[in-house]
Each structure stands twice: as C-alpha cells, then as structure tokens.
C-alpha cells in the first residue's frame, strides 16, 4: 500500500513539473505575450486577406541583445501558430500599463495612434516572409531587427 502511495506522490510531482515545462511562453527563452483587445483584426483589400494580432507584455523596452532575442522568439512563436498565409500579417506588442492590460476592451481604432508611446514592437510578414521587425521606444523606431541594427536617427512610428 505504501508503495502505491509513494508511486502516486512521485507521479503527481512528475506531472507538476511536466505541466510547468509545457506552459506556453513562460520559459526563460521567451517573453510572455498576452492577447490584447481586439486580439485579432482581419480585413481584405485588392491584394488579399490581411490580419493583425495585438499583444501586451509586462516587460518594458530594453536596449540589449538578450531582450531583443527573447522578443523575436516570442513573436515568431505566435506567428508559427498561424497556419493561414495572409497577404500581410502584423503583430503589435504593447507594454502593460494602467490602461493597456487584460481589462482593456477597445478595438483597433481605439489603439491606433492613441497608444503609440506604449508600443514595444511592430512586425510584419509579407506573403509569408518577414520584412519588418521594428523595436519602438517612446513612439520612435529605434532598432531594426531585420537589419539587426540601431536606427539612427530614430523616426516616429505612425
């Protein structure tokens, strides 16, 4: 009987550790991106179907290679879960603030232009190929992840 109890305890501990290992986006290699309202916006134009996904994160923008690499991995992970090939597929990542968080209920128009200073990154896949990955600080594009280079002089993301 004790052997069975011991086995059950060991099995439960094993399950706990296993669950922790497969939790999405909490490992040290990535940054936890949480869906931000309106979560997803799809629209069509003459070139085809387009999509925008919105996220927020607890992290502030950090000007270091480690942060950039983690953010890049996290955003790519999101993209890899999208199986449809859009004409343009964009991902906006904002930093969590008192207004932009899990309680925010705005749509894409409520976000556009109003919260540019809270943007951390904007990335875009054009016909399935990544062609933009800008890191943004105080509303200005400061790093180009595609070129892996600082943007100087920085320019306003609008």
């Amino acid at each position: 009987m004790n052997v069975i109890k011991l086995f059950a305890i060991v099995f439960c501990i094993f399950l706990l550790f296993s669950c922790d290992d497969i939790s999405p986006g909490v490992d040290e290699e990535t940054i936890h991106l949480m869906p931000l309202s309106p979560y997803k916006y799809e629209f069509s134009n003459q070139y085809g179907k387009n999509r925008i996904d919105y996220f927020f994160t607890d992290n502030d923008y950090q000007d270091n290679a480690g942060f950039r690499e983690k953010l890049y991995k996290s955003v790519k992970k999101v993209k890899n879960e999208v199986d449809f090939q859009y004409n343009l597929y964009s991902i906006y990542v904002y930093k969590k603030t008192t207004r932009l968080n899990e309680n925010f209920l705005g749509d894409n128009n409520d976000l556009r232009g109003v919260y540019n200073n809270d943007l951390i990154s904007y990335s875009r896949w054009n016909q399935g190929n990544i062609d933009i990955f800008y890191l943004i600080e105080d509303g200005k594009v400061v790093f180009d992840m595609i070129k892996n280079d600082q943007v100087s002089p920085s320019w306003e993301f609008d």
């Binding site: 925008i52 232009g113 002089p153 609008d158």
Partner: protein
C-alpha cells in the same frame, strides 16, 4: 563592344508602405475626412470644436505662417488653401522639390541608399534590371531649422518613397572597361492631413505661439468633422550618376 540604353523607369527602391496605407495595410487615418473617428471623442468637448470653419481656417493659416519662412511659407499656404477648399488629389510644387534637394537630411538619406544601390548594381554586373527592389527607409525633416523653416509643418516625415533609374546607358569594351550613367529619380509621398496621434502629440503645444496646440486641433476638426480634405504631396528629386568601369 557592348552598348546598352534603357529609358526606364526601372524600379530599384521602394518603402515598406504605400501612399494612403499603414504598414499593416489598413487605410491611413490622416488621409480620411468627415469620418468623426471614435478615438477623437475628447475633441468634441474642446472649446475649438464650436468655432466656425472660417475661425478654424484662420487658426490653421496662423500655424502655417508661424512655422515656415520664404518660399516654404508660399508652399505651406498653398497647401492649406488646397486643404480647406477640399480639392484632394496630389499636390506637386517645384519650390518644395528645390527645398528638399538642398536639405541635409535628403543628402544623408541619398548617400545611405546609394551605398546599397551601388553594391547591388555591381553584383548585377551593371544591369539595372537585375538589381531588384531595395527596401527604402523614410526620409524625415526633424532638425531645428526644418521645424522653423517649413519642411517640419508641411512634411515632417515622408509617408512613402520609391527610387527609379531612368535614361541608363552602359558602354563596355570586350576587356570589360567602359562607363555607365543614369538618372536616379526619387519620388517621395506624404499625407497633408492629421490623425488623432498628431493631436495627442501636439494639442497642448504652446510654442512657437501660445495657441499652436489649438491650431493643430483646428486642422483636425476641419478635416475629420467639417468639409476640408487631405491630399497626397508628391516630391521628386533627380540625381545624375556616372562612373568609369576599369
């Protein structure tokens, strides 16, 4: 002896967004009009909102005059007039083209693009049709001088751009030596209009005039709540390039 002439234009550079559209493909808010955007609800309770069209236009004219001088004041007032009359379409001006040609921001932008272009041009064995389309950055006018002389208020940051090769000529001997020459033609596009982000950013400005922020609101109200219409500003700059091939 090899001799090649291509009239063009051959597209060799393009910005990552088109005139009138955001990077993500949605229509640009600063090109919309009479649309009463939901995010601009706070302006409906602003004291500027009850002003007449004439009062708002007068405010916008004061804004243009306070942030431009000389030829650029002429351009700024022409643009304001076109905007208030609701003409729309595409605005072009030789004065504006000349102003950009002489601007140090353009010179730096040109040399950065030229460096990339020459690398690809040489790799393509001097065949402009094999260069491909190089992604272009966005030219912006943010120096103190630009802010007071007119490029800041009329353009500030171009929305889109393209670069084309015209009148290309290549002459080469069998040994490979010779020369090439062509015109590199830049076309820049901007929106003469405001989005809500512009009001968020400039609505409280008290420089260079105490009411500068109000004049930005006047511009926004005229466009999004009255009958004024934004338009595309198109600017061109042609650069002649030639080099011997050894």
């Amino acid at each position: 002896m090899t001799s090649l002439f291509l009239k063009g234009p051959i597209l060799v550079g393009k910005a990552k967004r088109d005139p009138g559209y955001n990077f993500d493909g949605t229509p640009a808010e600063d090109m919309m009009y009479a649309d009463r955007p939901s995010q601009s609800a706070p302006i409906r309770s602003d004291s500027m909102f009850s002003k007449s069209d004439q009062e708002l236009n007068n405010g916008m004219i004061k804004l243009m005059k306070s942030l431009s001088i000389g030829n650029m004041e002429t351009v700024a007032l022409e643009m304001q007039d076109r905007f208030s009359k609701g003409t729309g379409g595409v605005y072009k001006s030789d004065l504006l083209d000349k102003e950009i040609a002489n601007n140090s921001a353009f010179t730096a932008y040109h040399y950065a693009f030229l460096k990339e272009l020459m690398t690809k041009f040489e790799s393509a064995n001097y065949d402009p049709k094999k260069i491909g389309v190089i992604p272009m950055g966005l030219l912006h006018f943010s120096s103190f001088w630009d802010k007071v002389s007119g490029l800041g208020i009329t353009i500030h940051q171009v929305w889109s751009a393209k670069a084309e090769i015209e009148n290309f000529r290549l002459e080469r001997t069998d040994s490979g030596s010779g020369y090439w020459m062509f015109n590199l033609v830049y076309t820049f596009y901007d929106h003469f209009g405001l989005d809500w982000a512009d009001v968020v950013k400039n609505g409280d400005r008290i420089f260079p005039q105490y009411h500068t922020g109000d004049y930005f609101k006047a511009w926004y109200i005229l466009q999004h709540y009255r009958t004024a219409k934004p338009f595309i500003t198109e600017m061109k700059r042609k650069v002649f390039l030639a080099k011997n091939i050894q």
